[in-house]
């Protein structure tokens, strides 16, 4: 086996340590944005951007986890709505706060976990399951909330708008969730299995990994982020609605993919995903500050997402041909 010597370089970037090109794009974007708009770079606005990252960031952690495992949850928008509907109804009915919050998180876990169960037990393609789930959960949210938005009054106002040690509470939640996910994916056995599952389900199965149980667990953990994000969203807005989460699934997927998470599994990092979140939210903030109209905002946001992906591709200097074809 002597010939193997010195063939393998000492330290190469592994899936765990991949820093996406999006980081440079975000930094570039922040600099350009600060130049274009005098308010953008102010401490106040940057603080606002970070606050706005909270809900999407929490959701995107779960989405990354699923994508890395080769799974997908397309229903998180509807699930977030369902969480607000359940928690909101309970809050309005005067149930104790702790119970309401627990119910919210549990709703997220149950909603995502049910998908995981179907995927694990019946081996149905995750995408079709979550497509069906998103429709069904939207209906459920409508039923629970009587089809209309509702206010939660002053409940959760401290959490949603308050700060602790002058760090906004919702940002603290994001930081905690993100750190937990980083540890989970980088350091734990579970995290390694998630990467393995996404890399090759067959090889993981043959290595004895309980792949179906692992899938279920991944959905359940992602469900926790949905529950926490739903509560956070409601706390920030002071209202809930059976459609309040609509669109978050696409944003979370976009953030993850921009941040270097592979759509076909096995690759991605929480750090990268958070960079994607910051990019998306910063674009929105800049365009709002510039008072760009809704139509133009859409055009520009879409274009920047694509350009970010292209730049990442060009920067990595590989244009995938070499990545995947060589």
């Amino acid at each position: 086996m002597t010939s193997l010597t010195a063939r393998v370089p000492e330290r190469v970037r592994t899936p765990f340590t991949h820093v996406p090109g999006a980081l440079w794009i975000v930094l570039l974007f922040l600099i350009i944005a600060s130049t274009i708009n005098p308010f953008f770079g102010t401490a106040n606005n940057l603080r606002e951007i970070v606050i706005q990252c909270a809900v999407l960031g929490i959701l995107a952690c779960g989405t990354s986890l699923l994508l890395i495992a080769g799974l997908i949850d397309f229903a998180i928008g509807a699930e977030v709505s369902l969480v607000t509907a359940v928690t909101g109804s309970m809050l309005m009915a005067g149930d104790p706060l702790v119970l309401c919050l627990a119910a919210g998180v549990l709703t997220g876990v149950a909603a995502a976990g049910l998908q995981g169960l179907v995927v694990a037990v019946f081996k149905v393609t995750p995408f079709i399951v979550s497509l069906g789930a998103s429709t069904a959960y939207l209906g459920l949210a409508l039923l629970v909330a009587n089809g209309r938005p509702f206010s939660i009054g002053n409940n959760l106002e401290n959490y949603g708008l308050g700060s602790t040690f002058s760090i906004p509470n919702v940002v603290i939640t994001l930081i905690v969730v993100a750190l937990l996910f980083i540890v989970l994916l980088r350091c734990t056995r579970f995290g390694r299995h998630i990467y393995a599952l996404g890399g090759s389900e067959r090889a993981s199965f043959l290595a004895g990994v309980r792949v179906q149980r692992l899938k279920l667990l991944a959905y359940v953990i992602a469900g926790v982020t949905v529950g926490v994000a739903g509560i956070t969203l409601m706390a920030r807005a002071g209202t809930g609605s059976p459609t309040i989460g609509t669109g978050y699934e696409l944003q979370a997927l976009a953030a993850a993919v921009i941040g270097g998470t592979s759509f076909s599994g096995g690759r991605g990092t929480v750090a990268g995903t958070l960079i994607g979140v910051v990019l998306l939210i910063s674009i929105g903030s800049l365009l709002a500050l510039m008072n760009v109209s809704g139509s133009v905002t859409n055009v520009v946001t879409g274009a920047i997402v694509v350009v970010a992906a292209i730049v990442d591709q060009v920067r990595s200097g590989k244009l995938r041909l070499v990545n995947t074809l060589a």
Binding site: V8, L184, A196, A203, S204, V209, R267
Partner: protein, 255 residues
């Protein structure tokens, strides 16, 4: 000499294709059985059944004389059976240690189960040590992804892994197919060492009669899914075995 694993009249059909038409043999501690046969004879199918990838269509397995059903590879692992598959079955985006310890990561604290923290350094060290114990050297053990290794390098990783974990039975499906001359020799030597040191049973699939003679105590010949012959290596010759493989030769008695 006790039989660890007994295979009793195992068959396997893929739809219309009968890949195995009734195979029976037993594997004893400290002995190596070579399974030979033409392409498509059903050798890999046999491996897949023995490792719990899927159940046989009919027939069964016995472990230490007790009937046993493997529902998945995990069950086979528990029974001490490890395998190198023909397509290696390595996870391409993990590195050597990642594949080596997949599912059996060293964690701390251990009661945390799936959420225990993986001890990367230790795993890399243990992987390296075990590899050198097996006289296989794989440098950069905690760097390179498997997907960026050469065919032979991958095969070495798969062999090292299976050899490290095998407690009772070690199964190798064409383990030297992608290996160079020296590497092949090394692997054959290691197989013989393990057999003696650990007193485990081995099942080796190979098309190379030289390699078969270097390791095997017994030879099972498959032909188009049927069990053609089960012979002692000492009692036969390479040319007779080749004749049995191709059908030029026939043996009536079954061992």
């Amino acid at each position: 000499m006790t039989a660890i694993l007994e295979v009793e009249n195992v068959t396997k059909s893929y739809g219309a294709t009968q890949a195995l038409k009734g195979v029976s043999f037993s594997l004893s501690a400290g002995r190596t059985l070579a399974v030979v046969g033409d392409n498509g004879a059903g050798k890999s199918t046999l491996v897949k059944i023995l490792t719990g990838m899927f159940p046989p269509t009919t027939g069964g397995l016995r472990l230490d004389g007790e009937p046993v059903t493997f529902n998945n590879p995990r069950d086979a692992h528990r029974a001490g059976i490890e395998a190198v598959f023909q397509d290696l079955a390595l996870v391409p985006n993990l590195d050597v240690a990642g594949n080596f310890f997949l599912r059996r990561e060293i964690i701390t604290p251990s009661w945390l189960g799936p959420f225990g923290v993986v001890r990367k350094r230790k795993m890399a060290r243990v992987a390296k040590e075990s590899v050198s114990e097996l006289h296989i050297r794989i440098p950069g053990i905690d760097g390179q992804e498997i997907s960026k290794m050469s065919g032979g390098q991958r095969q070495c990783v798969a062999i090292a892994r299976a050899a490290y974990w095998a407690g009772r039975v070690l199964i190798l499906d064409e383990p030297t197919a992608a290996l160079g001359v020296e590497e092949s020799g090394e692997v054959l030597r290691v197989l013989n060492t393990i057999k003696k040191e650990r007193n485990i049973g081995q099942l080796v699939i190979s098309h190379n009669m030289e390699h078969v003679w270097a390791v095997a105590d017994d030879i099972l010949v498959l032909r188009q899914g049927a069990q053609q012959a089960l012979l002692r290596t000492a009692d036969t010759t390479p040319s007779e075995v080749v004749g049995l493989i191709t059908g030029a030769h026939q043996i009536k008695e079954k061992a």
